[in-house]
Amino acid sequence: MPDLELLTGGEAVAHAMRQVDPDVVPVYPITPQTPIIQGFAKFVADGKAHGELIDVESEHSAMSAAIGSALAGARTMTATSSQGLALMAEVVYIAAAMRAPIVMALGNRALSGPINIHCDHSDSMLIRDSGVVQLFVENAQEAYDMTVLAPRLAEHPDVLLPVLVCQDGFTITHSAEPVELLADAAVRRFVGEYEVPHALLDLERPATQGPFAMPDYYFELRRAQVAALEAALRAFKDVSVELTRLTGRPLTSVERYRLADAETVVVAMGSTAGTLKEGVDALREDGEQVGLLRVVSFRPFPRVAVARALSIARTVVVLDRADSPGGAPPLFAEVASALYGSGTELRGHVFGLGGRELHPEDLREIVSREAPTYVGLRSDPCPA
């Protein structure tokens, strides 16, 4: 009988951090990630985690201190959401470029304005192009598993990138579920020792990190980052297989739900996928051949796996929990790119901005083409 604890996603991640036992954790509060840093701070205060908390004075400084620490040779983790991510965005790009293997918990929350503390994916999308790895979990269990996996992925010698474990704000961060934790020793063994190529505190071969680059080298330096993200897809597979041997639970870059004979496939990320699975089951009861593809790894985007998974579908409907005003929503754009030339019918919707709920019943209208582009939006009816 597995040892289950009733934990919110925030608490589960705090436990994962306790067990990883990083050296340095710069923290700055913002709803809805604060339970993560509060939980971890208590572990440190009680001597159950042995690293050092730095209570920095802004999120920009949190990521800055994290780079300093990670490149100095210390395993480093932090957490943020929404405006905090926006404020540190400049430094997130730099962390990726400097190949700092920082693990960051992200409690997905809508970006201002107006200010809103509830869930959507706009914060993740703000740093979509930053070069960091972004993994979206469905529930507290997966948040825990992914946080245990993240250091191994971040620190993989071919990767060396920040890894963001993204969980829906409130829906996952603050909702309690049964979560199975690994034993402390198992996690310690799994994450192993921390190493970076040019630790600052190693004085034998002093290195200059964060140089200035002119047009003769910037392009090449950026191309090298792309290779790291491509390697991350392979590394994710290798490391997750190893973790699955310990947990018995799979972690894959995409999750296929009842796809085998699906004519219509809905694509989504995060906790809403759980809601949609119920919707899929209900439609299946009525004889509809519907399936769900949950994208877990948004960056790097698993184009090949997505294209393969959707290859049998006649219709694909992408549900984005973020918008790109004036352009195509981010997940839709990725799927469209992966499906280009396949002839599959493709539709997209935006839902859930600022914490607006999506219900299992909404899937019926989405599949039957009766849902508006912005699902769940109050809108004046069109003039006749």
């Binding site: 400097m98 700092a100 190529p197 200059t208 964060g210 140089p211 080298y217 330096l221 790291a228």
Partner: protein, 93 residues
């Protein structure tokens, strides 16, 4: 000037290990004058070494040993700071 590297040859993150890098010859910045030392006047106070912005004063242990004209930009601070007037700016060869 070294040949420009392909992206695959670059160190992750653009890290530069000093031992691997070449020196940039900023001696080309001089506009006609270079420092010259009148050795009998030199008292090895090392102020020229300290104040030189380009680390262009060469020492042998703690004794003045000359100027690194590969990097000297000809700012004349060494001549100005020398307490015995042992350094003069003379025409570049």
């Amino acid at each position: 000037m070294a040949a420009l590297s392909a992206w695959q040859q670059l160190e992750p993150g653009g890290a530069i290990v000093r031992a691997d890098t070449g020196r940039v010859r900023t001696g080309g910045w001089r506009t006609g004058l270079k420092p010259e030392a009148d050795l009998p006047r030199c008292v090895d106070c090392l102020l020229c070494w300290l104040y030189c912005p380009d680390s262009a004063v060469v020492l042998d242990g703690t004794t003045f040993a000359g100027f690194d004209l590969d990097v000297c930009k000809g700012c004349e601070i060494c001549a100005e700071m020398c307490p015995t007037g042992a350094i003069e700016m003379v025409p570049d060869a």
